[in-house]
């Protein structure tokens, strides 16, 4: 467990599935150098196969006794989808636009399909997913080389590329399948919670670009932070699949607002909700019932009195009200350690315990 924990809350009532976060992350980090197939941030349709395909059935995480469960490493063609591209350069010469790889699978292959019968009770909602920067990460526990570490100052889970040997047990160990094998460098890579931005007081790219303004970012122990209030004070933000036992630090406001169902004649069934609460319980655990009650009560209070602290918090009239970051904190941490900001190193091995001299990557500037 780290000293402090940086955390993100995503309000699923507001997510419109526009993939702007996906694109922000992709252009920032994963459109090059062997990461082309990876989505450190993806938005999947729930219910659906998700990304990678059926990730919830691929094992990993911990059982109730705390034992790491074996898992399966997804296949590029079948489970992630091979990225394809088109012959744009030759279109002017009269070629027909054709992909360079026959697309057979990819993220969002089943976008907006959902479940149920149209128009009676079909439903879906969007589930944006990044690395959960877990308090008890499955990837870290699975690594036989101590190559994955959790930063003490903010709990961000990172891969030490100097130590990583590309064994891929981390992928089997992560129940969210949010760590990926980079075939170009033969090492594992994952969401870094945009720590170079965070250290400068900027929110991660996915949160900064979010059109629906669904993402709150801050320190969980900071009582003034939005994430603290949503997770600990109002208890309306819940971790995804808490049954995996990794104690995820990305939290979700469950989707409470869905249209009612229709009967066979197309009439509204009053008081019904298309999103089955059992599905929400599967995703967010039994506390989802209390969270929904709290959210409904706050909406009612707002309607009746015009006032609600929780609603104000969720609405966030200014985008800046969604983030509470502190670059001074990072400057102090760096000063304390005598390190350059933006040069994270795994301190357990930095002193060259087993070699006379270790090479590490220099700071970017």
């Amino acid at each position: 467990m780290s000293k402090r924990q940086l955390s993100m809350v995503m309000d699923l009532n507001k997510c419109i599935g526009c993939q702007t976060c996906t694109v922000a992350c992709k252009t920032q980090w994963t459109n090059r150098n062997g990461r082309e197939y990876m989505y450190w941030n993806n938005v999947e349709t729930y219910p659906g196969t998700g990304y990678p395909k059926n990730w919830m059935e691929l094992g990993g995480g911990f059982d109730e006794a705390g034992d790491l469960q074996p898992g399966v490493i997804p296949n590029l063609e079948a489970d992630y989808g091979v990225p394809w591209d088109y012959n744009y350069d030759n279109l002017a010469a009269g070629e027909i636009m054709t992909p360079n790889v026959e697309p057979t699978w990819g993220p969002n292959w089943d976008e907006d399909a959902g479940a149920g019968v149209f128009p009676q009770d079909n439903y879906f909602f969007y589930l944006p997913r990044i690395c959960n920067h877990c308090t008890n990460p499955g990837c870290l526990s699975a690594c036989p080389r101590d190559a994955i570490f959790k930063r003490d100052e903010d709990g961000v889970v990172l891969v030490d590329l100097d130590r990583c040997q590309g064994y891929r047990y981390c992928i089997a160990g992560c129940p969210y399948k949010k760590i990926y094998f980079n075939p170009k460098i033969s090492k594992s890579e994952k969401c870094i919670l945009c720590f170079p931005r965070i250290e400068q007081g900027l929110p991660p790219a996915c949160a900064q670009q979010c059109v629906g303004r669904i993402r709150f970012v801050g320190f969980l122990d900071d009582e003034e932070s939005q994430v603290h209030k949503l997770v600990h004070k109002h208890k309306v933000a819940l971790g995804l699949r808490p049954d995996y036992g990794t104690q995820p630090n990305v939290y979700y406001i469950p989707p409470t607002e869905a249209p009612p169902k229709f009967d066979a004649e197309g009439r509204i069934i009053e008081g019904s909700n298309r999103v089955p609460v059992e599905e929400l319980e599967k995703l967010f655990g039994p506390s989802v019932h209390d969270a929904i009650k709290t959210l409904k009560a706050a909406m009612k209070e707002r309607k009746e009195t015009g006032k609600s602290e929780l609603m104000d918090l969720l609405i966030s009239y200014q985008h800046s009200e969604m983030f509470r970051l502190d670059n001074n904190y990072y400057h102090e941490v760096a000063k304390e350690k005598g390190e350059h900001l933006l040069a994270p190193v795994d301190e357990r091995y930095v002193k060259g315990k087993y070699t006379s001299k270790l090479t590490h990557f220099k700071a970017a500037h």
């Binding site: 459109n31 090059r32 150098n33 062997g34 082309e36 197939y37 094992g59 990993g60 705390g66 034992d67 790491l68 469960q69 074996p70 898992g71 399966v72 490493i73 997804p74 296949n75 590029l76 992630y80 091979v82 990225p83 394809w84 360079n100 790889v101 008890n136 870290l140 526990s141 699975a142 690594c143 036989p144 080389r145 101590d146 590329l161 100097d162 130590r163 040997q165 590309g166 064994y167 891929r168 047990y169 089997a172 160990g173 094998f181 075939p183 170009k184 460098i185 033969s186 090492k187 091995y349 315990k353 087993y354 070699t355 006379s356 001299k357 270790l358 090479t359 590490h360 990557f361 220099k362």
Partner: protein, 405 residues
């Protein structure tokens, strides 16, 4: 390995050494750094059989790979050594029915790129210190205070390691460069040159998790890999003496390990030998050779009973596997890769060598050790009270626990 050559000529006749698992190194006047697996000199070398056993002390967490490796058999490797006044070259031949490569990266298309292929490979391990042959480092890449140096060669396609050289502009997608036509071709070529084709590494390690790559050019070595008729032939050349170990002491211990890519082998999913001796022509360290080639004599049936009474509550045994696998190291192949000295030491003083690969966080209810000021304290109680006969019988029994060929 610079090129993968299918050898057309049969490997030279094998001269099995009289003593099992003792490699008699041959001193030659030629420079052994120039040798490759096809060099004529190998016909004069003395090959010894070394058995490799499936690693079953620790269970890995890859479901598919575990299924493929559930019934692994032992493999018979052959090892020979030649040396000159400064350097030593060892040859390792091991059976492997298929050539498996970890696919590298195709910069133009993802067609050829794979995320779940694994390469065949081998590793050679030397002890940093081996004055006391009964207290060698743990066979699984050393242990606290008992460091080893490990050399690894794998069959891996072209990969591009982050190198810290600041050439990040060569890491972008080719379509995002401002190059066209000839310039783009030149860019591709420059990128291509940054890739490594030869996946060979040297590590220092004091226990599986601590393995750290030597990147400061202080380890001089060269490895070569070639597929023979029905298996791989690997060689490793290194100085007899360097900063990591001094092998020039009459005899030295070593360990070899092999990975089979077709079985998704990597890291702990491997076959490995016990410590075995390499005897140089010069005299010295005879005690090491005799220690590593002695076999304990005892009443195996009684030893099995001692194990059932004292050990099986925590350790899994071939016919006694009711203990949870996370409780303690598995004993299925312990006789294959543990030395008599290690077994005895671990029974009497479990804290002397605590199997370091175990991740306590992965199994928090069954920690194999507690940490006391950074020192690992084994959760196993000392069995120093066992009488001499029980101890001898127990060790004799443990030495029989190994997979068949």
């Amino acid at each position: 390995m610079n090129t993968l050559v299918k050898s057309i000529t049969a490997i030279s006749a094998v001269t099995a050494s009289l003593m099992a698992s003792n490699v008699e190194a041959v001193k030659v006047s030629d420079d052994v750094t120039k040798l490759n697996p096809k060099s004529a000199i190998w016909s004069n070398a003395k090959f010894a059989d070394v058995m490799l056993y499936p690693q079953t002390t620790m269970k890995m967490n890859d479901k598919k790979a575990n299924a493929k490796n559930a019934n692994n058999k032992a493999k018979k490797a052959q090892v020979a050594a030649v040396y000159d006044s400064k350097n030593i070259t060892l040859m390792v031949k091991w059976p492997d029915a298929t050539i498996n490569k970890q696919e590298g990266f195709n910069s133009k298309s993802y067609d050829m790129t794979k995320t779940d292929t694994y390469g065949d490979g081998f590793a050679v391990q030397f002890a940093s210190h081996f004055e006391d042959a009964t207290k060698l480092p743990y066979v699984g890449m050393g242990s606290d205070g008992r460091e080893v140096v490990v050399y690894l060669q794998k069959y891996v396609g072209r990969i591009f390691e982050p190198n810290g050289n600041g050439d990040v502009e060569m890491q972008v997608n080719r379509k995002q460069t401002n190059y066209f036509n000839d310039q783009l071709v030149a860019y591709d070529e420059r990128v291509n040159q940054l890739g490594h084709k030869d996946y060979q590494r040297a590590f220092v390690s004091a226990g599986v998790r601590s393995m750290t790559e030597i990147k400061d050019q202080t380890a001089e070595y060269n490895m070569r890999l070639m597929y023979g008729t029905d298996g791989w032939i690997g060689t490793i050349t290194r100085p007899l003496t360097d900063a990591y170990t001094d092998l020039n002491k009459g005899a030295f211990p070593m360990v070899i390990a092999a990975w089979d890519g077709s079985k998704m082998n990597r890291d702990g999913l491997k076959s490995l030998s016990s410590w075995f001796s390499v005897d140089l022509e010069e005299s010295g360290n005879e005690s090491l050779v005799s220690e590593l080639n002695s076999s304990p004599k005892g009443d195996i049936a009684n030893g099995k009973q001692v194990a059932a009474d004292n050990c099986a509550a925590c350790h899994q045994f071939p016919e006694n596997d009711f203990a949870p696998y996370t409780m303690a190291p598995g004993m299925f192949n312990i006789g294959g890769y543990a030395t008599t000295g290690y077994l005895k030491e671990s029974i009497i003083d479990p804290n002397a060598v605590v199997v370091p690969g175990y991740n306590r966080n992965a199994h928090r209810n069954t920690p194999w050790y507690e940490l006391d000021n950074g020192k690992r304290i084994s959760t196993m109680p000392a069995f120093d009270w066992l009488d001499e006969q029980s101890m001898t019988d127990l060790i004799a029994y443990l030495k029989t626990l190994k997979a068949g060929e």
